[in-house]
């Protein structure tokens, strides 16, 4: 291999680094500038919703694509984040009184669990830390016992089921099946206002962009290499002196934190959080989206979430029944014919052209 020496090395490195960032910058410009200008507020709101899902997908891409942990309970973390945010919003609205749903659930004074959520810093912190803590506890328990693969997948799925039952059962605390809705303002901004929604969109898009950059950095770091090594040979990694359980727990916690943050953003954007958003099916749908986009590439995961979110809306506007068929069929096709998803197909295309 002939490497150019001296200055050219530096220049080529700078060039590569710029080239590496061009696609990202281009997408960022479209997302941050073009979309808010071109899209009608209702559609922009939908896009913001997809981007929230994309944040969750990014976490799934990290945990599943890079770390091999198929998590079917990501909705749980999304929900924890969403509920934290919703509690804050409800409390600011109640202005010292009780949130509306507690009234019709027969709760007469504010539960102690709720009180600290009046503080926005605490609420936002819990939106991320809550999921992280749960993931750390669960991860420590199961990974330490070397529960993995399909067992892990099923356990996370059961967690989603249990979580939904718990939330529904604690109606006085959580709003039950209804969840929480009817939010008016966030940090003094009227949520019904189009400019607030546009601002929220920009926040969501920026958060997604930053998280994407951060996650990509992480994946390309030695930690990322270690994660791939754990995915491909967990037992071997043990004999390299690492504790795979720790590596997996940290990764799982990161992905949980991302899902939590996404949930917190989702609530003001969409205006509702309910158990239906974090059960088995929504959790699986996000995994499907990641698979369709391409689990091995972070960008694929993000793309998948946006495409599938859009497809779902479009389909249910055209013919509702078809959606399940399409989703199922798409999934079967991707799994059998293109396990690397859209990202894999794009990569193959690029290679074919280069060759």
């Amino acid at each position: 291999m002939n490497r150019p020496r001296g200055m050219p090395v530096l220049r080529s490195r700078v060039l590569t680094s710029i080239r590496r960032h061009v696609p990202f910058a281009a997408v960022a410009v479209v997302a941050l500038v073009a979309a808010p200008l071109l899209l009608e507020p209702f559609r922009l709101g939908l896009l913001a919703k997809y981007l929230c899902y994309a944040i969750v997908a990014l976490g799934i891409g990290l945990a599943w694509g890079k770390g091999g942990m198929l998590t079917l309970g990501q909705g749980v973390f999304f929900g924890l984040g969403g509920y934290s945010m919703a509690m804050y919003l409800k409390l600011t609205e109640a202005e010292g009184g009780l949130p509306d749903f507690m009234g019709w659930s027969g709760v007469e004074e504010l539960p102690a669990l709720w009180a600290p959520f009046a503080n926005p810093v605490f609420a936002l912190g819990m939106a991320v830390l809550g999921p992280v803590l749960l993931a750390v506890v669960l991860g420590t328990l199961v990974f330490r016992q070397r529960v993995r693969g399909a067992y892990f997948a099923i356990l996370t799925q059961a967690l989603a089921a249990a979580m939904v039952i718990l939330l529904v059962g604690q109606q006085g605390l959580t709003g039950g099946t209804n969840g929480m809705t009817n939010f008016f303002e966030l940090f003094g901004q009227d949520l019904a206002d189009d400019s607030t929604q546009r601002g929220l969109y920009l926040v969501v898009a920026s958060v997604l962009g930053l998280l994407y950059l951060g996650t990509r950095q992480l994946v390309e770091s030695r930690y990322g290499r270690l994660l791939v090594a754990v995915r491909d040979g967990e037992d071997r990694v043990r004999f390299l002196g690492y504790d795979p359980a720790l590596v997996k727990t940290v990764t799982f916690a990161l992905s949980a934190g991302m899902a939590g943050l996404a949930g917190a953003l989702f609530v003001p954007v969409v205006g509702i959080i309910s158990p239906a958003l974090l059960g088995i099916v929504p959790s699986l749908e996000l995994v499907v989206a990641v698979a369709v986009g391409g689990r091995h590439a972070l960008a694929g995961a993000v793309l998948g979430a946006v495409v599938m979110g859009y497809a779902k809306t479009a389909f249910s506007e055209q013919f509702a029944d078809g959606w399940l068929y399409l989703q199922g069929a798409l999934f079967i096709l991707v799994m059998t014919l293109a396990p690397k998803g859209i990202a894999g197909l794009v990569g193959r295309l690029r290679n074919a052209r280069a060759a």
Partner: protein, 402 residues
């Protein structure tokens, strides 16, 4: 200049997302768009599709009779997908993009609660067709199903008249059963009835042997059942095989209508009472026409039920309000609506000006071996809607915050 490919794809994606951005140029002047928003997929589709069908029937009939204000009604149908946030999203779409004059939709309380802020925010109209737990009266919602004093309380009156004093409460774990049971407990306390137990199961629960054991051990005079959907099937099957009969222990249900009976199995439920405002067998001239028209349009084997009738009524009531207002403009319609009284399949209904609910006649029926429901009791006259139960001294303190 070469445009980077990712940029192109991002733009394409954006273009896709933007599709439909241009609302089809404002509705032609001889049409009025109305939204129908029910779950057409998912677990609630079973129930909601029939309500949508009844609403479509009403739109058809109104159009055949010349429409409203000389314009044809054009339904825009959306799927709530049994998912509450989707209801909110689709409601926004119907209002903002399709610019419909009114939306008829929802079934579960959760879907209504999710849509409520959307309608209030956009000052648009929702017509909600299902009996519910009360404690609500939004200025932008018209409630055409029963509130608690038109269904739960008459049901209790009936049980009391029958001498059933010891009750067991069984319900799915969500807001309607919990609120209903709170009212039942207050009623029981005021009327010398005894509540032997109160049990909730998760939505979709199907293993009822433990619950049946609890119920049969308690030996109540009657069971008040607020279970929802599939759970009813499992509950009645398992109750029957445990040897309980409608004679020894009637189960009064408030969420089982004609269409659910087939799925539960007539054998398992025949003889048990239900509480509604309307049955397919209700004897009014308007009902004869409604049942006939419905069967003609959707098939002779189809049945009609209370929520379907309430959805069907909703379209007529709204059309009447529009006629009276002379416009589809929301505030004018709201002002015109109070006092509108129509003879409907369930009898005379009147829109209450205060809370936008309907005056309705309560009816208790018993499920017959042919799957239909025979009325055995009624309230005699339409009951004034009282969502906050202000007219019932024993219910003071139940209404919660408001």
């Amino acid at each position: 200049m070469r445009i980077p490919r990712p940029l192109v794809s991002a733009m394409l994606l954006l273009a896709l997302t933007a599709c439909g951005t241009d609302a089809e140029s404002a509705a032609q002047s001889n049409e009025i768009k109305v939204g129908l928003l029910h779950s057409l997929s998912g677990t609630m589709a079973i129930s909601e599709v029939t309500v949508r069908d009844a609403e479509l029937l009403a739109i058809d009939e109104i159009n055949k009779a010349g429409g409203v204000l000389g314009k044809k009604l054009v339904p825009v149908v959306e799927d709530g997908a049994s998912d509450w946030p989707t209801f909110a999203e689709k409601a926004t779409k119907l209002i903002r993009q399709d610019k419909v004059a009114a939306v008829f939709g929802g079934w579960t309380s959760a879907s209504r609660k999710a849509m409520l802020p959307v309608f209030e925010r956009h000052k648009a109209l929702l017509w909600y067709p299902v009996q519910y737990e009360g404690l609500e009266s939004s200025p932008y919602i018209f409630y055409t199903g029963a509130t608690t004093n038109q269904q739960i309380i008459p049901g209790l009156d009936y049980l009391r008249e029958q001498g059933k004093k010891r009750l067991f409460l069984v319900g799915s774990d969500y807001v309607f059963p919990r609120t209903a049971n709170k009212i039942i407990k207050a009623y029981a306390a005021a009327n010398g009835m005894e509540i032997l137990g109160e049990e909730y199961t998760p939505l979709g629960h199907t293993e009822y042997s433990t619950l049946v054991n609890k119920v049969t051990q308690a030996r109540p005079d009657a069971v008040f059942n607020t279970l929802n959907g599939d759970s009813n099937v499992a509950f009645f099957k398992q109750l029957k095989s445990a040897g309980a009969t409608a004679e020894s222990m009637p189960v009064l249900s408030v969420s089982i209508a004609e269409e659910e009976v087939t799925g539960i199995g007539v054998d398992n439920i025949a003889g048990h009472p239900v509480a509604w405002n309307y049955y397919q067998t209700t004897e009014t001239p308007a009902n004869e026409a409604f049942v006939q028209a419905y069967k003609a349009k959707y098939g002779q084997d189809k049945v009609t039920s209370d929520p379907m009738e309430a959805g069907y009524n909703a379209v007529y009531l709204w059309a009447e309000a529009v006629r009276k207002a002379g416009t589809t403009e929301v505030e004018a319609v709201r002002k015109a609506a109070p006092g509108i009284a129509l003879e409907r399949p369930e009898g005379l209904v009147t829109i209450d000006g205060e809370n936008q609910h309907l005056y309705k006649t309560a009816r208790i029926g018993v499920i017959q071996p042919d799957g239909l429901i025979k009325q055995v009791w009624d309230s005699g006259e339409p009951i004034k809607p009282d969502p906050y139960l202000k007219g019932y001294p024993w219910a003071a303190g139940l209404a919660g915050a408001k």
